[in-house]
C-alpha cells in the first residue's frame, strides 16, 4: 500500500496528491506536462516534495514535517523507464543481477530462473544491451527491476518507444507479471489499450491534480 499526501511546486506549477494506492496495476494517465513523471520521481526519491509525506507499506519514504528522507537506494522502489537504461558495459545477465549486489529487502525475492522464465530471456543472457531489440531491452529492464525485489514498481511509458508489433509482444509479459506476482505497479501511459489490457485501478493527473478515476 502506497499512501501519498503531498504538494510539490516547480516554478508556477503545483502538483497535489492525496490518495492511497493498493496492489495490482494502477494506470496513470493525463496530458503531457500534467505531472505524471514528476509524481513518479517524487515516489522514487529523485526529487523532494515541497510539503507532505509518502508512505510505502508502513515505511515513511519522505515526510517534510518530521524531516524524514529516505534516499532512492533505500526505498525499494523499482523503476522501468521509456528507454530501458540498461548498463551498456554489462551483459544481460549482469544487468539482471545488478540489484542483487545490494541485498534488496532481505526477504526472498524472485530468483533469476523465475524471472528468466517469466520474461523468456534465456537466449539473451550473454548479450550486451546494444545487441538487443527494443522489446528485448524492455523485458530485461523489467527483469532487472524485479530482481532487485522492490516493494513497488514504477513504469513510465515502458512501451511508448516500441512499434505496435513489439508493444503487442510485450503486453502479455506485463499481464503475466500482474497476475503472477502481488507486486503493486504504477503504470504511466498515454494509450487507452494499455490501460484496458492491464489496469486494475486508474489515476488521472490533470493540471497538477492527481485523482482516482472511479
Amino acid at each position: 500500500m502506497l499512501d501519498l499526501s503531498l504538494t510539490h511546486r516547480i516554478g508556477t506549477f503545483t502538483l497535489t496528491a492525496d490518495l492511497s494506492i493498493g496492489p495490482g496495476v494502477t494506470a496513470i494517465t493525463g496530458p503531457s506536462g500534467a505531472g505524471k513523471t514528476t509524481l513518479l520521481s517524487l515516489i522514487a526519491g529523485l526529487s523532494r516534495p515541497s510539503a507532505g509525506r509518502i508512505v510505502l507499506d508502513g515505511k515513511v519514504l519522505v515526510d517534510t514535517d518530521s524531516r524524514t528522507w529516505l534516499p532512492p537506494h533505500r526505498r525499494h522502489v523499482g523503476q522501468v523507464f521509456q528507454e530501458a537504461r540498461l548498463f551498456p558495459h554489462l551483459n544481460v545477465r549482469h544487468n539482471l543481477l545488478y540489484g542483487r549486489l545490494f541485498g534488496g529487502r532481505g526477504r526472498d525475492g524472485p530468483t533469476l530462473d523465475t524471472i528468466i522464465d517469466l520474461l523468456d530471456i534465456a537466449p539473451l543472457l550473454h548479450r550486451r544491451p546494444r545487441d538487443l531489440s527494443g522489446g528485448e531491452r524492455q523485458r530485461v529492464a523489467i527483469g532487472r527491476a524485479l530482481l532487485s525485489n522492490p516493494a513497488l514498481l514504477l513504469l513510465d511509458e515502458p512501451l511508448s518507444a516500441l512499434d505496435p508489433a513489439r508493444k503487442a509482444e510485450l503486453l502479455p509479459y506485463l499481464q503475466r507479471l500482474r497476475d503472477g506476482t502481488g507486486l503493486p505497479m504504477l503504470y504511466v501511459t498515454h494509450q487507452r489499450e494499455e490501460v484496458a489490457a492491464l489496469a486494475t485501478a486508474w489515476l488521472r493527473v490533470e493540471q497538477g491534480v492527481v485523482a482516482m478515476d472511479q
Partner: protein
C-alpha cells in the same frame, strides 16, 4: 648515432621513473577531483576548479618557485614533512611532485569530460536498484568513464616526461638525481660539442612520446568498445 653514455641512460631512466610515479600518484586524486567537479555542487567548487587549472596558466617557473617556497627545506610544508623523513627538495621525489602538479590539470580535464559524458539517468537507475552512491560511482560512473581515465593517464605521463620549467626550478638538474631528459637535453645544448648527444636524447624523447600516445589511443579504443558493448 652511436651509443648512449651512462649519464644519458641515467637521464632517460630517471625521466621514465619520474613520469610513471607522477602518473601513479596523480591518478587517485585526479579521479576524485574530476568526480567532484563533474558531479557535485559544493561551496568552493569554482575555487577548486581554478586551483587545479592554475599550473596550466602560470609560467612553469612560477609553479616551481611556489613549490620551492612551500616544500623546500625551509618551506612550511617541507619542514613538517622533513620531521617524518620525507624530503622533496633536490630529490627525485621532488621531480615527481613538480611533474604531478604540472600534469594534474590535463589529467583532471580528460577524466572530468568523460565523467560528464556518462548518462546520469544510468546512475539514477543504479540507485533505484539499491546501489548506494559509492557503489553507483564504482560500478557505473567509473567503468563508463574508463576511456577518459586512460587517455588522461597517458596525457599525464607524456606531460610529466616533458616537464622542464617547474622541475628545474624546484629541484634543479643534478645528474643522476633530478636531471630528467629535458634537463639533460637543455644542458647539452649549452656546452660546446653537445649537439650530437642532444639530438640523440631528443629522438628518444620523441620516440617515448609517440609510443605512449599510440598505446593510449589503441587502448582507449579497445576499452571504449568494451564499455559500449560493441565486442559482443
Amino acid at each position: 648515432m652511436g651509443t648512449f653514455t651512462a649519464e644519458e641512460m641515467t637521464a632517460i631512466w630517471l625521466s621514465v621513473k619520474v613520469a610513471c610515479w607522477a602518473t601513479a600518484v596523480s591518478l587517485g586524486p585526479g579521479i576524485l577531483v574530476a568526480w567532484l567537479l563533474a558531479r557535485r555542487s559544493f561551496p568552493g567548487r569554482i575555487l577548486l576548479d581554478a586551483l587545479v587549472h592554475l599550473p596550466l596558466v602560470l609560467p612553469p617557473v612560477v609553479t616551481g618557485y611556489l613549490l620551492l617556497l612551500l616544500f623546500g627545506r625551509k618551506g612550511p610544508v617541507g619542514q613538517v614533512l622533513a620531521e617524518f623523513g620525507i624530503v622533496f627538495a633536490f630529490n627525485w621525489t621532488g621531480a615527481v611532485l613538480a611533474c604531478s602538479v604540472m600534469a594534474f590539470p590535463l589529467l583532471v580535464r580528460a577524466i572530468r569530460l568523460s565523467m560528464e559524458a556518462v548518462d546520469t539517468r544510468l546512475e539514477d537507475a543504479a540507485a533505484g536498484l539499491g546501489a548506494p552512491p559509492w557503489a553507483v560511482f564504482l560500478t557505473v560512473t567509473l567503468p563508463l568513464s574508463l576511456p577518459g581515465i586512460l587517455s588522461g593517464a597517458i596525457l599525464c605521463f607524456a606531460k610529466a616526461l616533458g616537464e622542464f620549467g617547474a622541475t628545474i626550478t624546484f629541484v634543479a638538474a643534478i645528474p643522476g638525481v633530478t636531471q630528467t631528459l629535458p634537463a639533460a637535453i637543455y644542458g647539452l645544448t649549452q656546452v660546446p660539442g653537445g649537439d650530437a648527444a642532444a639530438l640523440r636524447l631528443t629522438l628518444v624523447a620523441a620516440l617515448i612520446a609517440i609510443i605512449a600516445v599510440t598505446a593510449s589511443e589503441l587502448l582507449a579504443r579497445r576499452v571504449r568498445r568494451r564499455v559500449e558493448g560493441r565486442d559482443a
